[in-house]
């Protein structure tokens, strides 16, 4: 918890990540320091190649960092083995991807139920729960539709349902509007903000799309593998940041 009473959901201290070796080494994350608070929607922005997606990946625990510390709701990710980390992700992290990554062989409701099935829920119960979520997303009539039968906006709403259905504490989204037109992008991010942001959950969105910045509570700007500055755009109160 910081001095303003916000619970720190994600704490990054001097996080480093490199790819390649020797002269070809690329320091994707030079030294990242960042706190993400429960109850906020943080947008990670910056030019292409600045390390946004890499940072999102190491925060979500799907990529190991080389140095520094990352704590997710108090859990040091480096202390977990691969399987323990996978289980930790399964319970605590929800993902929404740029290309949606919906399984084409599954229907909308089956896709939304996948995180629950990963956690070992009985199929019937998981499908019921996913169906309720899709209903909230306005897709109650498209439960049995396959991804190929749906528009981009509808597919992204299924992806959001899949990211939220298991009530994770952290939701990470990579360029969620890049495959959508402006209006649809705003609609789905509005929906994400309405359904995902809760006092006990943090949402991190990597985006280039300035049209959706106004949905954020804070924006962290990255350049050359570092957080250059953070800007408060919503109701969140932090220590010593631009307002």
């Amino acid at each position: 918890m910081n001095q303003n009473g916000n619970t720190i959901a994600v704490q990054c201290r001097d996080v480093q990540k490199s790819f390649g070796q020797g002269n070809a080494v690329n320091h994707a994350l030079a030294s990242v320091n960042l706190d993400v608070f429960a109850g906020e929607l943080l947008m990670l922005v910056g030019p292409s190649g600045c390390g946004k997606t890499t940072l999102l990946s190491v925060i979500a625990g799907i990529l190991n960092h080389d140095g520094g510390d990352i704590h997710l709701f108090g859990q040091n990710l480096l202390a977990l083995g691969n399987n323990a980390k996978a289980r930790f992700r399964g319970h605590n992290v929800g993902f929404a991807f740029q290309q949606f990554n919906l399984l084409p062989q599954l229907t909308a409701v089956e896709n939304a139920a996948v995180p629950l099935l990963v956690l070992g829920w009985p199929r019937r119960k998981a499908l019921d729960r996913a169906g309720d979520f899709l209903d909230k997303m306005g897709l109650g009539t498209r439960l049995k539709s396959y991804p190929r039968e749906l528009s981009g906006g509808q597919q992204q709403r299924i992806a959001f349902a899949r990211a939220l259905v298991h009530e994770p504490k952290l939701v990470v989204c990579d360029e969620p509007t890049s495959a959508l037109d402006g209006k649809t992008g705003e609609q789905v991010i509005g929906l994400l903000k309405a359904l995902a942001v809760r006092p006990d959950r943090a949402v991190i969105v990597v985006t280039h799309d300035s049209r959706i910045f106004h949905f954020s509570d804070r924006i962290a700007h990255m350049e050359d593998g570092r957080i250059v500055y953070t800007v408060i755009t919503g109701n969140i109160k932090t220590d010593g940041e631009k307002q």
Partner: protein, 379 residues
């Protein structure tokens, strides 16, 4: 996650069907070749099957296989009879003879002569209510019904043929196992067979022995061998010796082994390549599952489930085709040439083999799944 694995599998119909066809083809090739191989190898000791009743076969030494018998002196019969534990012992004549058919053609046949008095060791099955006593009729012989039809000009009971210039009267039909050489089998009495066959110094091929009740046939074999210096085998023992002689001394097993291996390779190649392609095409989704918390074990289980399901379906179809092919063979092949068998043991062996093949074929997929970085989902 089994549900997700199966939906992913059947959702990609082209690859799903491709894998099943590959496995079915391999199953068909392997089971069909195994069926023929087993049928062929069984025929190597066909004469053992065709001589019923006795427990023990006593032959001159050395004996490599049951078709390569060195004649015994008639005295040996009495020496064998005198051994404790022997209930009875009788002679068996065995010789290839030329048979002249009604149309003037010649056919080489296997002539078996049974001990005149008891006529034990006759064919395993007699047809049309005929008994072994039909051999007591003057010039009487029993012939296999299938061979009679296919190779002996359709000869019927009551008709005659000439064996080495001697008149033989068919007094009944029987059913026998196929012989390796494919020669028609003719049963008659020992003395008649000895008269009909070319004269040799010794004509006794085998002494057939029945053990007394309670006697262990294997122990009796050892006793006979020790006391007579001859070779003595149980029925299973002589069949096994003949079987292994053909296994070791002929090119049959290696040739079948090559064909069966080719079948397995076809299965591994098609199933492996298609399974790998299937997994490779789904890596992004498998990465998404990994990111969402699926462990390596879960993903490996999913891939193995997909492999085993396609393996079992392919096996079922392949074995079905194999069965249908066997029915066609039965329908169109003369009974005297039906070597192939269709045994549940072969189905079981093929089934286990196919499961190994699909698991082996899925190894490449498994490696790529285990090495998969979940971060691939953000690339």
């Amino acid at each position: 996650m089994n549900f997700v694995a199966l939906r992913m599998l059947v959702g990609d119909r082209v690859k799903y069907i491709g894998i099943i066809i590959g496995i079915a083809l391999a199953t068909f090739l392997i089971s069909q070749q195994l069926n023929i191989f087993v049928g062929l190898m069984r025929s190597t000791y066909g004469i053992v099957t065709n001589i019923s009743t006795p427990d023990i076969w006593v032959t001159n030494r050395p004996m490599e296989d049951v078709d390569d018998l060195r004649p015994l002196s008639d005295d040996e019969l009495y020496r064998v009879k005198a051994i404790p534990g022997v209930l009875w012992a009788t002679r068996l004549f065995r010789e290839d003879v030329q048979v002249r058919l009604a149309d003037g053609k010649f056919q080489t046949c296997l002539l078996l002569g049974l001990g005149d008095q008891a006529l034990v060791g006759g064919p395993p099955k007699l047809l049309n209510g005929v008994t072994i006593n039909a051999l007591r009729i003057s010039h009487g012989v029993l012939v296999d019904a299938a061979y009679a039809q296919d190779k002996l000009g359709g000869i019927k009971p009551g008709q005659t043929m000439q064996i080495n210039g001697n008149r033989a009267l068919v007094t009944g039909l029987c059913r026998t196992a196929l012989s390796f050489q494919g020669l028609p089998i003719i049963y008659t009495t020992y003395s008649r067979a000895a008269n009909w066959a070319p004269v040799q110094r010794h004509q006794l091929a085998v002494i057939l022995v029945k053990a007394r009740p309670g006697q262990n046939p294997s122990a009796l074999c050892r006793r006979i061998a020790r006391r007579t210096g001859l070779e003595a085998y149980t029925k299973a023992g002589i069949a096994s010796k003949t079987f292994w002689y053909y296994m070791k001394s002929t090119g049959i097993p290696i040739n079948f082994c090559i064909t069966i291996s080719l079948g397995a390779l076809v299965g591994i190649a098609i199933a492996g390549q298609t399974l790998y392609q299937f997994t490779h095409d789904n890596l992004r989704y498998l990465g998404a599952l990994k990111a969402m918390g699926a462990t390596d074990f879960t993903l490996v289980r999913m891939v193995l489930l997909q492999a085993i399901v396609t393996g079992l379906l392919g096996f079922g179809i392949g074995i079905g085709i194999s069965g249908a092919a066997n029915m066609l063979i039965l329908h169109f092949t003369p009974p005297s040439e039906r070597l192939a068998v269709f045994l549940w043991q072969i189905m079981a062996i093929t089934g286990v083999g196919m499961i190994f093949i699909v698991i082996f074929a899925s190894l490449f997929s498994l490696v790529s799944v285990v090495k998969l970085e979940p971060a691939v989902v953000f690339k």
